[in-house]
Symmetry: C2
Subunit: 149 residues, 2 copies
């Protein structure tokens, strides 16, 4: 088992790439966010996006998928007790044909005030496209169990 | 057209409910977040969730869907120029059979420092289940165009 004590600030882990097809963008958005610029490549040309772009919810779902794949690569993944909160930015649109890569690292850790047997760690995760543009940036605070004494 | 000037602090708008079936939870998570507690009702019993729970990405997708439905009810929706950032909490799990309702309201507005022809508004959106438990809380900052002078 790995615990709060095992978290190494700055230790980067990577997963991906995830290939984003036009079909995937349209299928996702038809169910969850069916604006023209997410579901109709022709209508999207005359919107501020200037062409088809993935729903923000889709970009977030890809982030979850790559986090899952990251955890599958770890023999002994560190499992949080609870997610405390997220700060999220979607600074650049995801387009058909994009190859998205996840990089994540712990950026801060401290004892929990309310849970003496746990600690709070903040991790920063970034999804980057094939041109190095950041399409999603997420900072998450999680509660992790400390090693039993 | 509606502009930054039309935003009324505290004016609540609602959409939903969205009915969350077990099939929807499993189908979403199989693609995007296939942990046992999101895809396997039996295996989920022996996890901290104590039963099947929706992926956080799924809860976020439902939020986007209800935001879309809200905009469809408005004859003249206010369209943001850009989303600046989000703060997100997922304080309570979404379960099979849940009925989720969206409530959203502007909570703050101010002039933009960098864009004299635009303003920044922060909105708070909450997804609540049939028992009144908040399952998602999101504060978003958007840039809106001001009325042309």
């Amino acid at each position: 088992m790995r615990y709060f004590e095992n978290i190494e600030i700055g230790r980067e882990e990577r997963a991906g790439p995830h290939h984003v097809s036009q079909t995937e963008i349209i299928d996702f958005a038809r169910t969850w966010d069916p604006y023209p610029y997410h579901v109709d490549p022709v209508a999207a040309l005359n919107t501020p996006f200037g062409g088809l772009a993935a729903s923000g919810a889709h970009t977030i779902a890809i982030y979850y998928r790559l986090l899952y794949e990251l955890s599958r690569k770890q023999r002994d993944p560190l499992v949080a007790i609870a997610a405390l909160g997220f700060e999220l930015r979607l600074p650049f649109p995801v387009r058909p044909g994009d190859q998205l890569t996840l990089a994540t690292q712990p950026i801060e850790k401290r004892d929990s005030k309310s849970h003496p047997d746990a600690g709070v760690a903040r991790t920063r995760g970034v999804l980057t496209n094939q041109d190095g543009r950041v399409v999603l940036e997420l900072t998450a605070a999680y509660l992790f169990a400390k090693r039993p004494t």
